[in-house]
Symmetry: C2
Subunit: 276 residues, 2 copies
């Protein structure tokens, strides 16, 4: 592997763009390949065997694009199929969403009250809870999990600042607020877009953005393996990302811009498994 | 130099704790030595020669503590005396506040409208403006600077959520808002504590926290030089920081906790220049 190779990021859909955004923030000079399996999204309600199969196909697709690292931006894959990705990737390092965020939550909580929010599938899998508990060697932490199924459609519809969204968020978060949650794990790629609202409803909260901590992890691993691209002196250059999707969703451009904060190149539509 | 050595951070006062907070967030396993020159704060209204002299003394103090890297958390020192720190530090790498934040601002702005806020001294020095302009090779960026002298006392008095603070912030930021600023450089160590208010008044703003970008830079430089401490598996361990101040300010513990989010060890009072 060498420095010039791109970093691969995959997700069941477009939510992984919030992870890509954090990667670009910390590693602006890298090239990226983003794959969104938009034809088969969401993965959360599929069987574990099927998710493993899809994750394997996504990983193989990225390996064919000659990536030097794979970021599993999808929480469902990170929860139930990370081993599959790691085994498929061979020597290529793999970073999931759950470990880095769990470690950050344990480090940042002061009162020991950690909240986890995610889709119903992620919360039901207990992946974050188990990960945090396994690392909490002093048994200091109390965890409250809450599935927030309406947040994904709210973000995709772009009604984050609607008063109804605030009402829904107040209801979802009420038990966490009542129990003095001081650290909130955003266990879904869509939730970082709602951070301002969470900060308003939970003043002083430590928000744990899985994508951010995955990006820091990526920086560390690449640097330690001498695989970081050299810093460019051209700070006006926009991020170098090639987008691939398995289906072009309606409003893709708008939603992508909302996630990333800038316009993107037209995505290329591909089939999985990759026939090339 | 070796991995086990601490990272040194200095500031004219306690504001640098916001930078330390970011360092701990990205590099939780490192040991830190923090020096606040609280007997001589603020540096902003002193002559350049005096600031250089103080900066040299702070650097020598940290070198005596056997640090492997020096973070100049003070914006005034970063603006007018970074060369002095670098020259004094010899082989020890030095990171200031201005370069990393300037690069991040250029990278993150979409509309090209960058705002810079800071103390009167920092804004009058034009250090951020000059740095951004020198890196803006395509001449894409319009910069609006605004001194916000009341924000430091507001943060230290802990009245960030007071309605008067909102009124003052609205006035300070009005010209930036009018000119569609999309990226705001927080050119003072105290301002990250006001981030929620800035986000409320400027929805969708890219906030550039100098401490955060300095921390990412530190991670990268340490990793590339094989000086990163190994990851600990004890995630409940609190950060290992030794605090030194040249004077113990009233309410130091309260203010420090507000900056860092957790209680700190009692600071040791020292004299500069260090006589040891």
């Amino acid at each position: 592997m060498n420095k010039a190779q791109p970093i691969g990021v995959f997700d069941s859909g477009i939510g992984g763009l919030s992870v890509l955004k954090q990667l670009i923030r910390f590693l602006p000079d890298e090239a990226y390949v983003y794959l969104g399996d938009t034809a088969r999204v969401p993965y959360g309600n599929k069987s574990i065997e099927t998710v493993k199969n899809y994750a394997k196909q996504c990983t193989e697709f990225l390996l064919n694009k000659n990536v030097k690292m794979i970021i599993t931006a999808c929480n469902t894959v990170s929860a139930v199929a990370l081993e599959e990705v790691i085994n498929t990737a061979g020597n290529t390092p793999v970073i999931g969403m759950i470990e880095p965020a769990s470690e950050a939550a344990l480090r940042q909580t002061v009162k020991g009250n950690v909240g986890i929010i995610g889709t119903r599938a992620t919360i039901n899998s207990d992946a974050y809870k188990k990960s945090i508990e396994s690392k909490d060697i002093k048994n200091n932490v109390k965890i409250i999990s809450k599935a927030c199924p309406l947040f994904v459609p709210i973000v995709e519809e772009g009604i984050i600042r609607h008063p109804a969204t605030r009402m829904i968020a107040e209801e979802y978060l009420s038990n966490l607020i009542k129990h003095n949650t001081d650290t909130l794990v955003l266990g879904c790629t869509h939730y970082p877009l709602m951070s301002d609202l969470f900060r308003e409803l939970m003043p002083g909260i430590n928000l744990i953005d899985s994508g951010e901590h995955a990006a820091v992890n990526a920086l560390r691993i690449l640097a330690e393996n001498n695989l970081l691209k050299d810093n460019s002196e051209n700070f006006s250059k926009r991020a170098d990302v090639n987008f691939y999707v398995t289906d072009l969703p309606v409003l893709f451009d708008d939603v992508a811009k909302r996630f990333l904060g800038f316009d993107i190149k037209k995505p290329v539509i591909v089939s999985l498994p990759d026939k090339k």
